[in-house]
């Protein structure tokens, strides 16, 4: 056999930040057979111990899922393995033996890592704010630090430490060619101030951003002309009182940056005179604080839809479809269990008006300038009861009942339906990537619909679904591949997908350049940049895309509807002065999924007649709308499961996230990602039959939930997180706080 091509797997690996010196052990999450509805069990898995001096894997030991060490969070440092395509349908590990058979050895393998942090660039629009690191090609086994340099740092020698990569030295015992990415410690960097006022958070060693370079104080003056704001707006540490919406939307930057990043690792090998390369994406993300629960819609779901399209093929294995449907429902209750459903529903809390607390109904009221209304009948919403109901649905699916609730799932084009009927659809009470009510992916919905479609007629299969084969053409298997030694938290199943802006990545960014010639804003259909020859489209809004043969087209915007004021059986379009057409953009991941299969082909695209930089510029979007044909880019790089570099370069997948990311854990509420950034913890039933628990952000655990108004001093505030996030972001297992483990021997001996 001949090495024809290379792949790096997994094609997307997530590192998790943490300052503990020892990376997280390998672990998995498994069902508990004695309590199938309970929390998943964390199980240690074989963990590689890398010799610090030689770079070899010294041994494998049993992993232990301990997330902290001496009060510090253990980083997740994923391995990335090289595979060789040796035949059309064969993907096999690149090992010392395979190299030898080609008269090669491990010294002939070289690596390169390029990562960046573009968060400040995204806000300022100034490319001099780009922080990037490039190891250049290397073949040695020493650590290669990822030094993030920036034109706007005070000194050319200043850098942000993004962590390091290491080419693991293969041995006879561990012959697979692999690289390890160890992310940074979760530090915050800031401005190099010369005004004598010390920053309360940034030590001198990390005060590296040039004082007058624009990031410190950004937002103090009104922009001249159009500012390409993020959604949500600002999303950075501010010196003006935070949060902005309680203080006249003034957001003056403190000039903070973080050590999160995203980018590529590449491998190179000459085989028979031909240079073979492969790439994979990496990112550094916040830690998983709820390791035994998964969110109802993950990045894996969205990537699965990008691969397979929005439907479910008729020949997909029934057992596999059913297993996926059960998994979605299970993740639904794993999410709900961390929400204080009564508060999220828009109920008042101990007499306090719901308008003063953060929830989707409150967001909806603010956005439409209508009175706040609870989503469901206020008396019916208790977390434990709602969770039990979801568990009951899951149990029914396990009993092979056909899913009866498909009509109760919110379609992705119904996210701006604010009637009671619309808001009560599932998933309920949560926010999607378009800042409206969350919908599952089309493929998830179709999976649930199809599961059990045949169960009415056929006996249920007794055998479990066949495992996905790891072959070159099976992109799903490659995407979900877990390299040896990698904990599950390094995989896309643990990353959230309703990116507004997201936690691991802002997946909205990937879609901006899907149509060649234009760049759309990541959260709506405004054309913000164009290539030469497409100038007439800049500032216009995309309304609809027409796949070949489709005259109706796929809308990428919808109209906001809500209840008519005086007729409970009627609905009407909701408009405001700021949005006279009542338009709501639809998230890209669902809206554009149907056109991915037309990669390389041209599709007709409908744009507004006039420029509409702000929604208030748009009175009648359809009037005079015109058509332009644009080519659809490929979502993945050729024959791989790597998201195309043309869609997002290094740093672009994380550029929309908060700067620093710690800001987001204070600023974004749980109705985004309840099982990733929880709200309701230590929940128990009371003698009244209702639930009680703590707010995850409560400093003191009293069992008496403190609702979040962003300024309550009983809750963790911004600076608390900036200074001691590893202390305050408490890990949850079994729905309860995990106490810090006892001090290690290393610390007890007071080692330097």
């Amino acid at each position: 056999m001949t090495i024809k091509d290379l792949r790096i797997l997994p094609p997307f690996a997530i590192g998790r930040l943490g300052s503990a010196p020892e990376p997280m052990d390998n672990y998995t999450i498994e069902d508990d057979p004695d309590h199938p509805l309970g929390f998943r069990r964390l199980a240690g898995a074989p963990t590689f111990v890398v010799d610090e001096r030689s770079g070899e894997i010294r041994e494998t030991r049993d992993g232990s899922p301990e997330f902290k060490q001496d009060g510090r969070i253990r980083p997740v440092a994923p391995f990335l393995e090289v595979f060789a395509v040796t035949a059309d349908d064969v993907l096999e590990p690149l090992t010392l033996d395979l190299l030898r058979r080609h008269e090669l050895d491990e010294t002939k393998v070289s690596w390169r890592a390029v990562v960046a942090n573009r968060k400040v660039v995204r806000r300022t629009g100034n490319e001099d704010d780009l922080v990037s690191a490039d190891t250049k090609w290397f073949s040695g086994h020493a650590r290669k630090r990822l030094e993030g340099h920036c034109n706007n740092f005070a000194k050319s020698t200043d850098f942000i430490d993004f962590g390091h990569v290491r080419y693991i030295k293969p041995t006879t015992q561990f012959p697979h060619i692999r690289l390890r990415f160890t992310p940074a410690r979760g530090l915050i960097y800031g401005p190099n101030r010369t005004d004598g006022e010390p920053d309360p958070v940034i030590p001198e060693s990390r005060a590296i951003y040039g004082e007058n370079k624009g990031w410190l104080g950004f937002g103090a003056t009104e922009p001249e002309g159009f500012r390409n704001e993020t959604l949500p707006p600002s999303l950075y540490a501010i010196s003006s009182p935070a949060p902005t919406w309680l203080h006249n939307n003034v957001a003056i930057s403190r000039g903070y940056l973080d050590d999160a990043c995203d980018g590529f690792v590449e491998v190179r090998l000459m085989v028979a005179g031909k240079e073979l390369t492969a790439a994979a994406r990496i990112c550094a993300a916040p830690p998983v604080v709820v390791p035994d629960s998964l969110f109802v819609r993950s990045l894996a779901d969205d990537l699965d839809q990008a691969i397979h399209g929005p439907g479910v093929a008729h020949d997909e294995d029934d057992a596999a479809v059913r297993a996926r449907a059960e998994d979605i429902v299970r993740r639904a209750y794993e999410t709900v269990r961390f929400m204080n459903v009564a508060v999220m529903n828009g109920n008042s809390f101990k007499g306090r008006q719901a308008l003063l607390l953060d929830s989707m109904p409150e967001e909806e009221a603010a956005g439409t300038q209508r009175a706040i209304r609870p989503v469901m009948a206020p008396g019916t919403v208790d977390t434990l009861a709602i969770m039990t109901l979801h568990e009951q649905v899951f149990a029914a699916l396990r009993g092979r009942a056909a899913p009866w609730f498909v009509r109760l799932l919110r379609r992705p084009d119904e996210v701006a339906d604010f009637t009671d009927r619309g808001r009560r659809k599932m998933p309920a009470l949560m926010c999607g990537a378009d800042n409206n009510y969350l919908a599952l992916t089309w493929r998830q919905i179709e999976t649930i619909r199809k599961a059990g479609e045949q169960s009415l007629f056929e006996p249920a299969p007794e055998t479990p679904p066949p495992p996905d084969k790891l072959v070159p053409r099976n992109l799903s298997a490659q995407l979900l591949y877990k390299a040896a030694g990698n904990p599950v938290s390094s995989t896309p199943v643990t990353a959230v997908a309703n990116c507004c802006p997201g936690l691991e990545v802002d997946f909205r960014a990937v879609w901006r350049r899907l149509l060649k010639g234009i760049e759309l804003r990541e959260y709506d259909s405004l054309v913000v940049n164009v290539d030469a020859g497409y100038d007439k489209l800049k500032g216009h809004r995309l309304l609809r895309v027409f796949p070949p043969g489709d005259d109706k087209g796929i809308p990428v915007v919808t109209r906001i509807v809500g209840p008519a004021s005086s007729d409970t059986t009627a609905k009407m379009y909701l408009t405001t002065d700021a949005n006279p057409a009542g338009l709501a953009p639809l998230e890209w991941s669902n809206a554009l999924a149907p056109i991915l299969k037309y990669k390389g082909s041209r599709v007709r695209c409908q744009f507004t007649r006039d420029e509409a930089w702000e929604l208030e510029d748009l009175q009648d979007p359809e009037e005079g709308a015109f058509i332009v044909e644009l080519e659809v880019r490929s979502f993945f790089d050729d024959d791989t499961a790597v998201i195309s570099r043309a869609l997002a370069d290094a740093g672009e997948l994380t550029q929309g996230l908060c700067s620093p990311w710690q800001n987001d854990y204070r600023e974004c509420s749980c109705y985004y990602w309840a099982s990733a950034r929880p709200d309701y913890v230590n929940v128990e039933a009371t003698p009244s039959g209702l639930s009680t628990g703590d707010n995850w952000l409560q400093k003191e655990r009293t069992g008496d939930y403190v609702p979040d108004d962003y300024v309550d001093t009983r809750l963790i505030l911004y600076d608390d997180l900036f200074k001691r996030w590893e202390h305050w972001l408490r890990i949850q297992v079994g729905g309860k706080d995990v106490p810090d483990p006892p001090a290690s021997e290393h610390k007890k001996k007071g080692a330097a």
Binding site: P33, V381, F394, E458, D567, Y573
Partner: protein, 472 residues
């Protein structure tokens, strides 16, 4: 409000009331019968729906059979709405609710046909169509002018051939009830207890999204006509549960309920399917396959029962296969739990505040949980044998009524009885698991749920006030 012609002569008939009863009492009795009929129909429709399917259905007909099942399940859901609306009217007049079900009084006035749990066939379907049919003499069909008249007469003939005695339309009872409620001489204004409104069952709680899509209006409130061709009637269920505070509201609610059952869509061109419409459509389609070599439904037993009693009228449906009988017992138990939780919600409604999470709503969620259990267990039972060693006939969900639905007097006893039932379920599940039954994943999940339920109930019991506990 659907706009239909008024059907039937709705004056109260004095000769139908027993002399020892007041008119209010008579009205309460009629409503009780109404509730029992709704309950009976719902269960029979569910059984028919669950019987549909099986490997014997040719692939080219499976989409059609799935649609039939969806239609019948929609009817069953709507019957649930009717049942709750009738309970609301009972509450309005200060009468006790009635969740009971009489299987055998069919020869009493109003019962449409003998109670029979059976697979869906043309014969059983004819009975359903007939029961939901609009009043003869008030439709263009019966006077032969409508193109479908002959077809409907054929259905009537098949239904009446099957029923010994006088079959009835469901609408006849509601005509009687509505007439009596509207009789201001016999039912005085003071009999309507407006204050009970807040404690009645509401669509907001029980409707679960089974309502029609709101109509689009403009900023001035004027209906916006949809562009393009108007879609046909929606096949989705429309669960109507009306709370009632006045005589007029009670009349309107019961009229709507009655029309949802019987008003034919093709007569008035409204955009909702009545029960009659749905059954009629299925009948039209199924009749084309009469005599074909396949059946749309599985060979489930007629009136399956867990009772081995030669004198029992349903003895022919005795589930003698031990495994199947254990599953059937579990089904009966969960059915009982559903009805008890439902009854409990009506009691709790009087003592909770609806504007914040409350115990009544938590119990209501348990009602829905039990519905999901019944759905799952029915799906299992329609695949299990009726008798060991006999593959030909299958069991089916028995829907056997418990010996009583009365709740104990005190809250403590009610919760303790809930706990008892959960414990019984756990014992059956463990027995099934130990005997190597299939569906182990479901049994394990149900056990887990029941374990949680008992902990929850135990917590509530401990929290009950000392006055609610028996004296030491």
């Amino acid at each position: 409000m659907m706009r239909y012609r008024i059907y039937g002569d709705r004056r109260a008939s004095p000769e139908k009331k027993r002399p020892e009863m007041t008119w209010r009492d008579h009205l309460a009795m009629l409503l009780h019968i109404g509730a029992e009929i709704e309950h009976s129909l719902m269960v029979q429709y569910l059984y028919a729906a669950y019987s549909l399917g099986g490997e014997q259905v040719p692939p080219e007909h499976r989409a059609m059979v799935s649609r039939w099942q969806a239609h019948i399940l929609a009817v069953a859901k709507e019957e649930m709405g009717h049942l709750l609306t009738v309970q609301n009217v009972l509450t309005l007049i200060g009468a006790p609710i009635n969740l009971d079900r009489q299987d055998l009084p069919w020869d009493a006035p109003f019962y449409p046909f003998p109670f029979q749990l059976e697979r869906l066939t043309l014969d059983s379907l004819a009975c359903y169509v007939y029961a939901e049919m609009p009043a003869e003499g008030h439709t263009a069909i019966a006077d032969g002018k409508h193109p479908r008249a002959a077809f409907l007469q054929r259905i009537t003939k098949r239904a009446t051939r099957r029923i010994v005695g006088v079959p009835h339309r469901v609408g006849e009872l509601y005509d009687e009830i509505i007439g009596l409620i509207g009789d201001t001489d016999r039912i005085h204004e003071s009999l309507f207890l407006e204050h009970t409104y807040a404690s009645q069952a509401a669509t907001d709680d029980w409707g679960r999204g089974y309502q029609p899509d709101p109509r689009l209006v403009d900023a001035g409130g004027t209906l916006v006509k949809p562009s393009g061709k108007q879609a046909g009637p929606s096949p989705e269920a429309h669960v109507m549960i009306d709370r009632v505070a006045t005589r007029r509201q009670a009349i309107d609610a019961l009229t709507a309920l009655s029309l949802q059952g019987e008003a034919p869509e093709f007569l008035d061109g409204n955009n909702e399917l009545s029960h009659f419409d749905r059954f009629f459509e299925i009948y039209e389609q199924l009749e084309k396959f009469e005599g074909a070599d396949w059946q749309p439904s599985r060979p489930v037993a007629v009136n399956p029962t867990t009772l081995k009693d030669a004198d029992h009228p349903h003895h022919g449906g005795y589930i003698s296969a031990k495994h199947s009988r254990e599953w059937a017992s579990l089904f009966n138990l969960r059915y009982r739990m559903l009805l008890r939780y439902l009854a409990h919600t009506f009691r709790l409604a009087r003592v909770v505040r609806p504007d914040s999470p409350n115990l009544r709503a938590m119990v209501m969620h348990r009602v829905f949980g039990e519905m999901y259990n019944l759905k799952t267990l029915a799906g299992i039972l329609v695949r299990l044998p009726l008798r060991d060693g006999h593959k030909g006939e299958l069991a089916g969900p028995p829907f056997e009524m418990p010996y009583t639905l009365h709740l104990p007097a005190s809250e403590l006893e009610v919760w303790s009885s809930h706990s008892d039932l959960v414990g019984s379920s756990q014992r059956i599940c463990i027995t099934l698991l130990k005997s190597g039954a299939g569906e182990r994943d479901y049994l394990a999940a149900l056990l887990d749920l029941d374990h949680q339920a008992r902990s929850w109930i135990d917590g509530i019991v401990k929290g009950l006030r000392p006055t609610e506990r028996p004296a030491a």
